[in-house]
Symmetry: C2
Subunit: 369 residues, 2 copies
Amino acid sequence: MFLCLRKGLCYEQMMGRKRTKSGKIRLAEVAELAGVSPITASRFFRNPEALSVAKRARVESAAKELGYVPNLAARALASQRTEVIAVLIPSLTNNVFSDVLRGIYDASEGSRYSIQLSNTRYSILQEEKLLRLFLAQKPAGLIVTGIDQTAESRAMLEAADCPIVQIMELGPNPVDMMIGFSHYDAARAAVAHLFAQGCYRIGFVGARMDPRVQRRLDGYVSAMKEAGRFDQRLVVTTATPTSVTLGSALFADLLARETGIDAVFCANDDLALGVLFECRRRGIVVPEQIAIIGFNDLEFMASAVPTLTSVRTNRYEMGRTAATMLIDAIEGRRPEQPVLDLGFKVIERQSSLARRMESRPAVSGHAAG
Amino acid sequence: MFLCLRKGLCYEQMMGRKRTKSGKIRLAEVAELAGVSPITASRFFRNPEALSVAKRARVESAAKELGYVPNLAARALASQRTEVIAVLIPSLTNNVFSDVLRGIYDASEGSRYSIQLSNTRYSILQEEKLLRLFLAQKPAGLIVTGIDQTAESRAMLEAADCPIVQIMELGPNPVDMMIGFSHYDAARAAVAHLFAQGCYRIGFVGARMDPRVQRRLDGYVSAMKEAGRFDQRLVVTTATPTSVTLGSALFADLLARETGIDAVFCANDDLALGVLFECRRRGIVVPEQIAIIGFNDLEFMASAVPTLTSVRTNRYEMGRTAATMLIDAIEGRRPEQPVLDLGFKVIERQSSLARRMESRPAVSGHAAG
DNA sequence: GTCGTGTCTGGTAGCGCTGTCAATGTTCCT
DNA sequence: AGGAACATTGACAGCGCTACCAGACACGAC
């Protein structure tokens, strides 16, 4: 339908004009219809305030009438920059990143910037490679995950002439901007919460062990050591990607070799759910016999039976704020505060509520294994 | 700080070379070092076989030595096409799409194509808008979700001169290629499975009610009607986005108004988990009193207690195959089979295993409400 | 009246790459 | 030997847009 219309226009214009190859509406066509020069029309799209009110209206209606859509490749080539925000994240599977991404996409919507996503698969070498690729295309801005880049990556980031936001965690030397929270402190808060509930023999269950999970483990270890309760045998980790099933399996490992455990700190909520299911399978009563705390506070934690305690992290907000800060910085509005701590919060639920100590029978590691 | 560094580089290079503006390595530099014409160097990157072995090696080493990275904007402008695969999906939150996306990204990795993702938020008008935007940039290929486009969108898709894959479901008039499965048949299979377990008063719990969930409902309705068991009051749906908590709530609604329900078919696994938790909360024994079946077979279904029956769908494979087919088509290798049914499979688990009928007490809708 | 100052507009010259087509060399056949 | 057929290479002319600078014009101050 509208194709005919467009073809019609083309022929008309081919008659009168030099050449309108391929029937595309170019800026020149818009300018002609509006009765201005191409450069004026171009300005309309980049900085409308620079035009007089009359021309602005003329160009606007001409563009709308012709259904003009700018050619981004030509724009990028001529202006030597793109309107692309490159995002490097380690995983697409992980719920955590899908929330962050949603925030990023939401913030980019309505702006002129588009998101170019790439997956480092938790490899800093892969990250380096992607960084090289992306930076060569001169993105308008860059969002990278974490603070553990290779030296080469770090150098490239510092030499890049675009704003950069590091997300997910905080560290001492931001490349540019940084938004996250302390995984170390969050883990310490989780342990402190369990201490407050009267739990002292606290297991740690972790999977994948990427840098942020590692820092949660570090926080757990430090808190346990401070209390004089640390025992290496309480820690069960694996490099395998996380899953609910894995949570059950790791917890089973823990029970098989340790006794007297009264709580489990899970490095994420999937693992926590797996631990809960495993408890149910073995008839271990939560929290009376074993308390459970997860990490991230995914939606299902509030819904489980018993409801599961977790450390809430502001993932969506992190993504959204990162993209917003980045866009502001691209457009020259640098934030007054380049490093933002979004914090965390222990959401106390049934799975770790204080138990009457006397009513708690000891749990044998071999109870049902 | 780093700005100085970069300026320094620029000056150095401006001195020594003809005009290497902005210090960038261009194709011309590579060609010069290799002792060939720029166009030959260009061919090396697009069709290496066209070069003699000697020149191929020379260009390759020159490119590597200079660390040449092609300027995609210039390439896109000159060739009138991009190496971008545009992907339109309705949601980033939904686990289902993150699996599909992972497949798409995995398949695109190692290819020359990059993924441009956009979120329609379940709105076909938003989809139409994004489609117009994307098509103007001449993507190399397009992946769109579902078969329910607006007439305008449909016209644009048919006029687009790039391969297109519709994913997630099957339908009568593919625009080009299509890969998915029948949600209608899958729902019928789920109901048939419950019939086979001796359940006949089967509730339906659905959220968001996008076209695919709607077709699952249609399948449920048709199967129930065929068995003479359909009752509109067994159906609980809402437009609200899905969640585990919502599963609990909708199931509570169902129980509050109906009695004698012996099974629940949940339109997705999150809802099913919510129903399971709600059963546990009310002391309803699964599957003895109520059977549960979900949809998609997310990872946690196999881990729950009891393990949850679900309809497995091949989401990752769908994404992967869609992207692979698309890339093949872009490169001229059209698939012999443009429409692919990836099927589904009812994964029978404890939550719906056949119960001895006589031992099953009736569940009152008001039992715990 | 002249000059500055500021606002708005347009001309020119590419951005870095590739499509087209012509111009070589090279091989193999009759 | 002659020529067709093929393989390999290069020259040229843009792709559609914007950076840069210059010009045009209005306004007020001296």
